[in-house]
Symmetry: C2
């Protein structure tokens, strides 16, 4: 019985392997330490057209699909193939259901045939989602053995809206055992590796939601969008709470209102992130999820940001949060962004981070307010081992808080947020201009070896503040090819503006078209 | 020692009495059961001009003040006088500081003299706030003996913004001992009575924030805006969470994120409510309080509602929530509103309330999640008696919830909200039109005798849903002159639309100009 969990994990691993059609299976073994980034191109499993499709941006694909120049089925097959290759190289999914995906794509093609127009703004675009989302008939194990074998009978709100918008669902990507992690490791797939180096982590908690192709992906919370984006040379945006729907999802601590789950996309370009957010908002998610704010995409906010990009942005920046100093490649990344922005006539002023160490105390308390009983019970249910990486985290728990204690923590959090806003306002009063964004590290390091991610502060404090934050990329060559991410932080619910600024920073750093 | 609390309450009561200048004190005794509504006019304390000022709408006053046709000092003195008369008749305030108010008004007049323009959209308008708001140098006892004698050194965010907008602060109105009440009763002022009948309650928890004059007032949570509005023939609006700032206020259960405090205005016309919300939003409260959504006043939403009012509104309505049937006057109120709206070409369709009894279980749990320790400790600190009205409420506590239990409640709440939205959507799918609002009772009764308010369900379930709700009035003559309120319920954050609809309903019921 005691090793039953291990068998169940192995069983799932095997089932995943069998979900890959025989003809898509790789016959070569790739050792650790190797860069497998180009294998999808070189392995011969994808045709030239399929490679072209899977190398396209989502925006390009949607345009062609909506004009009938591409068929949803062809695009779907191409992505299914590429994803299976990826999984065999870095173990990136927990669910894979190509038949359902192809059936859905066929329906979309039929719709197009009849109506000669797309069904919605994402017509025929395959989108991968992480394993927190529920899809009827699929498991949502979130990497926990106890939750294997439970097939969902309901669908997460975002999935419903993505389908309405025309997106094709085909895989659910890997997440960390506890979700609360900057890497992706569990007792089913072991680890999700970084395609640029198999010995590196792909980041987490939703490490599977990255790599190898250009479709947008969805992920959640804290650093779970930003860290994988940063570790994989991708763009990501963590919207503020209430911008995207997260109802009817699986989660680590359901129902808590202290540290909110937030869904955000990861993609290869800022334009694809925008495509994605606009498509979701066009479905009026506030009519489905009561936590979503009825705030349609505001083009007027984009226009303001664009005119500032063309004129003069006022940006704050910091190298270190005063707790853990980032590694030199990160510092160089900030330096380069600041220099390029100044060259282009923008105003850059150092920002003094306000009590980030203090803020992280809250983050820790908030993450563990239930004494980790939610996570621990779900692990105990199968008897599975806590992965080494999470032991430290789970040890740090201070035990269960009661309603009053929770209220005190939440009150202090609000007070901290308020003081941060006050700083922001004071900065503006002193400089006489609006502070458009703050540029900061996403993490203290670039992509790192499995099991070595330690410090969440750069992403978690921004989550605590509920600020909007987008990740743009700095040249990956500087640090053994390991991607280095910068975050562009805006006030709460400033997604439209922040994406424009992140796009500009990416452009200045020469990344806007990088694969 | 055991009766010390009683002395401290009496001391405060006397201090309040002494805060009234000698020449404003009434020399006549008014017995219970009497209608004192016209005393301010008849008592001879206010000049004809002062009566005219205090009978004006806030919108009229602001217009005249902003053109220099009225002086802030004269308006302030007039309101101070009228409020002192009111307090002597019904005991409606916890704080009164005319000298500070007049000094502030003088500064505004000087500003106008120099700049020949108003300082902000509320230039010179006296506004009363309830005792939850903090003002430097004043007590914020919230009707609790233990909190007497503590003079605030900080200011609530709303107060700061009101001052910036030009409003004059002069009094803090009475609230109930626990806040969680549909009446206003505590060991300082005893009860706040209804000016139409001294034996009736003025409603609560912020019963003091009503009566006798036409300035807007601010109040909070559950039925705390709507019930006093309904019991006093006033308009009120409970915005959705995140529309108005409530940081740095005193509260019953600070820091809890389960049942949110919400600030809303009470006034004599819908236009005055609008004036108020627009003025607050014009100060960009989201830059001060992190919980406020950056959502400026949307005239476009008003335009949509106005064109529907001129064309055809689709409205749901219900008489009873299926738990407690309202008294006949309330039913007649709904009937009349429905009939008048139909006569005017609008579509009225019965709405089936969804599980309101179930929802109220959550409300009870949420209100008492801390086992009422917050309230009980603040009462114990002085040893004061729990007012009879609140005993039942405090007995009903199920004890302290822990983080997991709280999470479960919050999850069910979210689920309930989601299902209610689904109903709303299904209604729209079935009828093929947008459901603009739902008309419903505010309470099961009209204004009632002190100590008799029992059933909160009509207001609290709408608060649980975080729907926007405005109160419009039905002819008070039908029920011995007791005001009967209707609420106009809109989806979350629909303040602009709901005010237009409430205004139209008030107009159809012939109330828009009623004092």
């Amino acid at each position: 019985m005691s090793f039953d969990w291990s068998k169940r994990g192995a069983d799932k691993r095997i089932r995943l392997f069998h979900s890959i059609p025989e003809e898509w299976k790789l016959r070569t073994y790739y050792r650790r330490e190797s860069n497998v980034f180009n294998i999808p191109t070189e392995c011969g499993k994808l045709s030239a057209e399929e490679l072209s499709i899977t190398n396209s941006t989502a925006s390009d694909l949607v345009e062609k699909l909506s004009r009938g120049e591409l068929k949803a089925v062809d695009v779907t097959v191409a992505f299914c193939k590429r994803t299976t290759v990826a999984h065999q190289l870095v173990r990136c999914f927990h669910e894979f259901f190509p038949e359902k995906a192809i059936a859905q794509a066929k329906e979309l093609d039929e719709y197009f045939e009849i109506h000669q127009k797309p069904i919605g703004p994402l017509h025929g675009l395959p989108i991968s989602i992480n394993d927190q989302f529920r899809i009827e008939g699929q498991e949502a194990s979130m990497g926990r053995i106890a939750w294997l074998g439970k097939y969902d009978t309901t669908e997460s709100t975002l999935i419903t809206l993505l389908r309405k918008a025309g997106a094709v669902l085909y895989t659910k990507t890997s997440v960390c055992q506890t979700l609360l992690s900057g890497e992706t490791c569990n007792n089913i797939i072991a680890v999700t590796s970084n395609p640029r180096n198999n010995a590196w982590s792909a980041g987490g908690s939703s490490g599977g939601g990255r790599c190898f192709d250009r479709t947008p992906r969805f992920s959640t919370w804290g650093g779970s969008v930003r860290v994988p984006a940063a570790f994989n040379f991708l763009y990501g945006i963590k919207p503020s709470q209430g911008r995207t729907p997260h109802s009817k999802m699986a989660n680590s601590v359901e129902g808590q209102e202290t540290a909110h789950s937030i869904i955000g996309p990861i993609a290869h370009t800022a334009a694809d992130l925008r495509l994605f957010l606009k498509a979701v908002l066009s479905q009026e998610p506030w009519n489905y999820d009561p936590k979503v704010i009825p705030l349609p995409w505001r083009s007027s906010e984009e226009d303001i940001a664009r005119s500032k990009v063309a004129g003069r942005l006022t940006l704050g920046y910091f190298y270190s949060d005063g707790v853990v100093n980032p590694y030199p490649p990160i510092l160089r990344g900030i330096d380069e962004a600041v220099a390029k922005l100044r060259e282009n006539g923008h105003t850059l002023i150092p920002w003094r981070p306000y009590k980030h160490a203090y803020a992280q105390r809250f983050v820790r308390i908030m993450y563990t307010a239930d004494g980790n009983t939610g996570i621990l019970n779900s692990l105990k249910a199968s008897g599975e081992l806590v992965i080494p990486y999470n032991k430290r985290l789970l040890r740090s728990t201070k035990g269960h808080l009661n309603a009053n204690q929770l209220g005190e923590v939440q009150l202090k959090q609000w007070e901290y947020q308020r003081k941060y806003l006050e700083r922001w306002r004071r900065f503006e009063e002193e400089t006489g201009t609006e502070l458009d964004a703050i540029i900061a590290p996403v993490a203290a390091t670039a992509a790192i070896r499995h099991g070595k991610f330690r410090y969440y502060g750069y992403s978690s404090v921004i989550s605590l503040l509920d600020f909007t934050s987008a990740v743009a990329e700095y040249d990956p060559e500087v640090y053994d090819g390991a991607p280095v991410g910068l975050q562009v932080i805006g006030r709460r619910l400033s997604e439209e503006r922040i994406l424009v600024i992140a796009e500009e920073i990416g452009r200045l750093l020469g990344n806007s078209q990088t694969p």
